[in-house]
Each structure stands twice: as C-alpha cells, then as structure tokens.
C-alpha cells in the first residue's frame, strides 16, 4: 500500500501566519506568528512538503506574499506548494522559478484552461495542481461565488483533457468540522481516476492517516488540526471491586464473585491497553485504611498508568492516605453527599485533578435520586443539582454509576449521562450497564462521556480492553494508540551505575 504524504499548511497575510476563523482573520499565535519559524518546525517534524495559501493574494487576484514564500523556499528544505491569487501564466512562472515545487490553480482552470495547458507543457504535469472544492456533490472553484453545477467526475474529465494529473480536492463541508475528511468522496475519486495524484484537504488530522492510506490518497493537507486541533483521547477504564485485597464483582452490588488478585489483574489490564484503572475497595473492616494504602502502594509499583482508588473514603486523612500511597486520584461517594465540605477540602489540599466524585443514582419520578451505601439507601438528593454543587466545590471528575443499570448489560443510562453532561464542565465517566461494544460507543457519542468504565465484561472476558478500543477507534472516537510491540520487545534496562 502506498503511503499518504501529509502536508502541513500555512495561510499568509501581510507576511504573517494567520488563520481564518468564522470568516475573520486572526493572527495565528502558534509560533510568534513567523511563517519561517513555523516552516522550520514542520521541517523538524519530518514533513517533506509545505502547503502555503496566500489568502491576501486570493482576495486581490495577484500574488501578495512572494517575498516570504521565497524566504521559506530558501531557508528550508521543504517542497512548497502554493495557492491563492495565481491568475496568470506569468504568476505561475514567477512562483515556479522561485523554487516553489508546485502551484495550485483554482479559478484559472475554469476561466482560462488554455493557460493551464500551456503551464503544464512548460513546467511538466507534476508541478501544476488544480484545486477543486466540492460542496454538496458539486464543484465550486475557489474565488467563484456560484457553484459550477458540475459533478466532480465531469470536472476531473475536463481537467484530464488539459493534461492535469495532480488534483487537490477540498471537501468544504468537512473543512472546519471536527468529523474528519470525506473519505468516501476520495475513495470514489481514486477508484474512478487512478491516474490522477489526489491531494485530500478539509478536516484532515493525524488520526485519518490509516483511512486515507487505505483509500489510496497520495497527499493530505492538514491545516486546522495543527492550529486548533485537540487529540485528547477518550478513555477506557476497567473497574476492579476489591474486598479484603481480592477482586470481586457481582450484579447489582450483591452476589459477589471472586475474580482474582488486584495487582496481577491491574498489570494485565495495563498490558491490554487500559487507559486508567479504578479500584473500589469495599472492605468494611477496621484496618481498611491500611489495606487501601497497601493496595495503592502495590498497584503503583506494578503499573505505569494512572489509577483511582475509592470505596469508603470519608475523611481528608483517607484521601491523603490513598494519594500518598501512590494513587493518582481518589473517588469519594457517600461522604460527598453526607459531608460535601470534604470535597472542597480535598480539592484545595490535593488539587481538583485528584478528586473524583462517584455517584450512584436511581431513576425517580422526575430525574434521578442519589443512593448511597451500595445502592441501599436513598438520600432523596436530585442528581443534577448535586453534580452542580460538586463541580463548584472543586471536584475534578464525575464517575456516574446507575443503580438501575448496574450489572444488567443493557447499556449505560444515556438519558442520565446527557443530563449530567449538560451541567458539567469537568470530565464525565460513564459507568454501569455496558454489555455490548455499541454501549461503549453510545456512552461517548450519545451520552457525551469522556471515559467509559466497565467491570464484568472485562473480568469475565466478554471483551478485551483492546477489542473495545479498536471498536471505538473504527467508529472515529479518538483513542490512545497502543503499541503492544513495545511490550513484546521490553524496555531496555539502563546500565547500572558503576
């Protein structure tokens, strides 16, 4: 399979790097606004090509940023393709003679096709690319107000007769949305015109590499992903219920079954690609604090991913105890309802990032009411109002269970997740009810969860963590890529001091 070559982009106005946001030009603050520095960074990142759009030139109908383009060509080893304001053969000549590798022709290809044919004859077909925008299945040429009314296939046929072999196709509807490029469109074009070198643009990010490669796209322009992208991954979290140092899990909090040693299981999930782990210690003996510390200590030595410990955390001392023993976060449940001041205190002392609030609501006549003590006691508190309070008090994250759905395998309570999502600005972990792969996706896509938690399906081997992550990844959810290869090889041991 041929590799898709990714091309980072720079938009220029007045010799400065800018970005177009909702029709307005903003200085791009990424790198002191210097296009040269930006280009150097891309070069250091290992890119071969750079895509430059002279936005000013596009508006004026003539080249406006030639000086800076020349500097980039001279000061980097990048192959540069330039578009915007190229409306004549002399402009094409000027750019190509300045060392620009390829020019992107827009409206000229429609208005003066002869010029394009001439340029191809003079400079070769590799150095002249036609830029075609597609909106609603129709070709629109940049700089043109109206649509051409042409289907992309018809337009490409016309271009072929001029000798064009490189076409940049921007799907306008994908551009500016965070849904990724229109892979179906490119698949169709590549299939129908295998002789054309395709440059995909619009909505492209790092995460689309595989899909574009499979389709057979030659190049992909990535612009906004650099300046406005967010690749924070959604998390898959196995939850381990611990009693007296052993893992247990049962349907609806009763009928507990033994499923192993927590440290071994933790190391197993770490290797499987779990993004994080949650331990709920349901030990109810007097030496609980010591057992929690012991668990945190043993787990933190064994694994190198973050983990949360909860279960019966009721004082600041409990919080400190777990964190000092090596837990990254603590989860507070009953005590958050009975003594909400604890949440404020813990957040102030240890930071919000370390404080997770676990909530176990049950459906009520209207909304949801919070239950405590393992789902046995109704506090009568309204979920939404409670979440608001927790957030204000400095909670860092909400772990949302459901007494109704726990252990049922019918999926998360999506309605409840949405209600929680609407009032929260902190991350939300969906819990209780995942039984099928789709449930994880629904929790994220419909429920708006930042992380999905499950226990039984993992412990009893219905799915592996990796299966869930692969499934979510194919559905377009941003997942941490995981390299089991590194594990197989093992980390080389550094030399001991001598």
């Amino acid at each position: 399979m041929k590799k898709t070559i990714f091309i980072p982009a720079i938009d220029l106005i007045g010799g400065r790097c800018v970005r177009l946001t909702q029709g307005a030009y903003d200085a791009c603050t990424s790198y002191d606004s210097s296009p040269i520095q930006m280009a150097r960074l891309f070069e250091r990142m290992g890119y071969e090509w750079l895509h430059i759009i002279d936005l000013e030139g596009a508006r004026a109908g003539e080249l406006k940023n030639l000086k800076i383009i020349r500097e980039i060509v001279a000061q980097t080893s990048l192959k540069v393709q330039v578009g915007g304001g190229i409306r004549s053969l002399s402009a094409i000549k000027e750019l190509l003679n300045s060392g620009v590798a390829r020019v992107l022709i827009g409206s000229l290809a429609v208005k003066e096709p002869d010029v394009v044919a001439q340029a191809i004859q003079q400079f070769g077909t590799e150095r002249i690319a036609v830029a075609m925008d597609v909106r609603g299945g129709e070709v629109c040429i940049s700089g043109w107000e109206e649509k051409t009314g042409l289907a992309p296939e018809i337009f490409v046929e016309k271009m072929k007769t001029l000798g064009v072999t490189v076409i940049l196709c921007t799907d306008i509807e994908s551009d500016g949305m965070m849904k990724g490029p229109n892979v179906e469109l490119y698949a169709r074009l590549v299939r129908e015109f295998p002789g054309i070198k395709w440059i995909a643009a619009g909505g492209v990010s790092f995460r689309d590499r595989e899909r574009l490669q499979q389709v057979g796209v030659d190049f992909a322009v990535m612009g906004k992903a650099f300046y406005e992208g967010n690749f924070l991954a959604k998390r898959v979290i196995p939850c381990l219920d611990i009693k007296e140092g052993r893992v247990v899990k049962g349907a609806s909090f009763t009928n507990l079954k033994d499923a192993g040693d927590p440290v071994k299981l933790a190391a197993f999930y770490d290797r499987e690609g779990a993004d994080e782990l949650v331990f709920l210690d349901i030990t109810a003996t007097s030496d609980k604090r010591k057992m929690v510390a012991d668990l945190a200590q043993r787990v933190s030595k064994a694994i190198s991913i973050p983990f949360t410990i909860g279960g019966g955390i009721s004082t600041v001392e409990d919080v400190k105890n777990a964190l000092q023993a090596g837990a990254d976060k603590v989860s507070i449940e009953s005590a958050a309802v009975l003594n909400p001041g604890l949440v404020s205190e813990a957040a102030a002392l240890c930071g919000s990032q370390a404080v997770v609030i676990s909530v176990s609501p049950r459906r009520a006549k209207s909304g949801w009411e919070i239950f405590i003590k393992g789902g046995r006691e109704n506090t009568g508190r309204d979920l939404v109002e409670f979440l608001r309070e927790m957030q204000e008090r400095g909670a860092g994250e909400i772990l949302l269970n459901s007494v109704d759905e726990d252990g049922q395998g019918n999926g998360y309570d999506l309605e409840m997740l949405k209600a929680a999502r609407d009032v929260l600005t902190i991350p939300l972990i969906a819990s209780s009810g995942a039984g099928e792969l789709e449930h994880f996706y629904d929790g994220i896509a419909q429920g708006g969860a930042d992380a999905v938690l499950a226990a039984s399906v993992f412990h009893y081997g219905k799915f592996s963590v990796q299966e869930v992550k692969n499934y979510l990844s194919t559905k377009g959810v941003c997942m941490r890529n995981f390299s089991p290869a590194l594990y197989k090889k093992g980390v080389p041991l550094p030399p001991r001091s001598s």
Partner: protein, 205 residues
C-alpha cells in the same frame, strides 16, 4: 560515585517517578540538597503543585542556582519543565530562565471554524505527541504520534527548542531540549509503555 538524583523539594510528590525508576531497575537518590544535586551524574526534576510556591522553595534552598549551573543531563517533568522557562503566568512567577518564553494558561475556548468547544481545564488524560526532532535521544524506539499522559492547566509555547508538540485547542510544547536540559509537559512515569521507554532513554543518555 556519581548518582542519578531525583530532586525532592518537599512540595511535590516524587513517588510515581521513583516507582517508574524502580521498574527500570535504576539506582538513584532522592534529594533536595543543592550540594548533592550539583554532584549528580543525571538529574530528574519532577514537579507537582503551583509554580510560585515551588520556585520560592527552590530559591530558599539554593536549588535554583544549582539547577541552572548543571552541565549533566537534566530532565524536567510537567511543572519541572515549565520552570525551566523564563516566566510562568501562574502566579506571575519568574522561572529558571534556561528556556526562552512564557508559560501561559490554556485558552479554554477551542474554535474550529464554525464549531466552538469549551475545553476542560486542566487537561487531564492521554494526548498525542508529534515529535519535532527525530534525532532526540529521548524518543528512541518510540513511535511518532504516540499518546502520553498529561495533567496541567498551563502550557509552554512552541519555540526553536521544542522537540515534541501536543494539541489541545492550540499547539503547545510537549517536549523540549536545550543543550543538557530536557523536559516533558506530560508525565512519562504515568504514560505506560512509551513513558517507561522515554525514561529509560533518558537514563541511557
């Protein structure tokens, strides 16, 4: 015998870093004594907490001068990396000034043209890192665009010393190197296999 020293200035939790070093079977010493730090063969400078309070402790103990004067490999992690810069907006704190630029609070509004999203601050979780220096010894055997674990509200801008970039509504410096000073905004000690590899690579320098 010269040792790897993990700087412990009393304010941050160095336990996770030490656990990771233990997993790598490394020999090291935990110390907040500038005399020991200046004698080290390698220094790891972890950071958890607030910039202002941490710098105050460093100055009080003379660790600021000790770190600045180091000629052996130094690895600043998270706040430890941020403090290598000239300044942090967090509490308007003057940093160690080893790296140019000002560490700034994340802009919570992510704009992707028509779509405007409110980002959660702090950023907590796994984010992609695009390497910007294929020759960096820290990334040996680590695939480009791997995910690392981040927990932070402030971020360093891109600069000529940036060796890795991450994206959270805006690009920022995820990895940096100037001479013998290395830094990561993410926590390698919490970043699974790739994090262990990266720490191992530092120890192998």
């Amino acid at each position: 015998m010269k040792k790897i020293v993990v700087i412990d200035y009393g304010a941050g939790n160095v336990k996770s870093v030490c656990n990771a070093l233990d997993r790598l079977d490394a020999l090291y010493e935990i110390s907040g004594d500038p005399k020991i730090v200046t004698q080290a063969k390698k220094v790891i400078f972890p950071g958890v907490g607030a910039a202002g309070a941490t710098m105050a402790v460093l100055r009080e103990r003379g660790l600021d001068e000790a770190i600045r004067g180091l000629r052996v490999p130094v690895f600043g992690i998270c706040l430890g990396m941020q403090l290598l810069f000239e300044k942090s907006e967090e509490g308007d704190t003057k940093g160690l000034g080893i790296l140019p630029g000002v560490v700034k609070k994340f802009n919570a509004i992510q704009r992707w043209e028509a779509v405007s999203t409110t980002l959660k601050i702090p950023q907590i979780g796994w984010n992609l890192v695009k390497f910007a220096d294929s020759k960096s010894p820290l990334i040996k055997d680590i695939p480009d665009e791997s995910y690392f674990y981040f927990v932070h509200s402030y971020a360093a801008p891109l600069c000529e010393f940036t060796t890795g970039v991450a994206f959270y509504g805006q690009p920022f410096t995820a990895m940096i190197q100037k001479d013998n000073f290395f830094g990561t905004q993410f926590h390698p000690e919490k970043s699974g296999d790739v994090g262990q590899q990266l720490l191992g690579n530092f120890l192998n320098l």
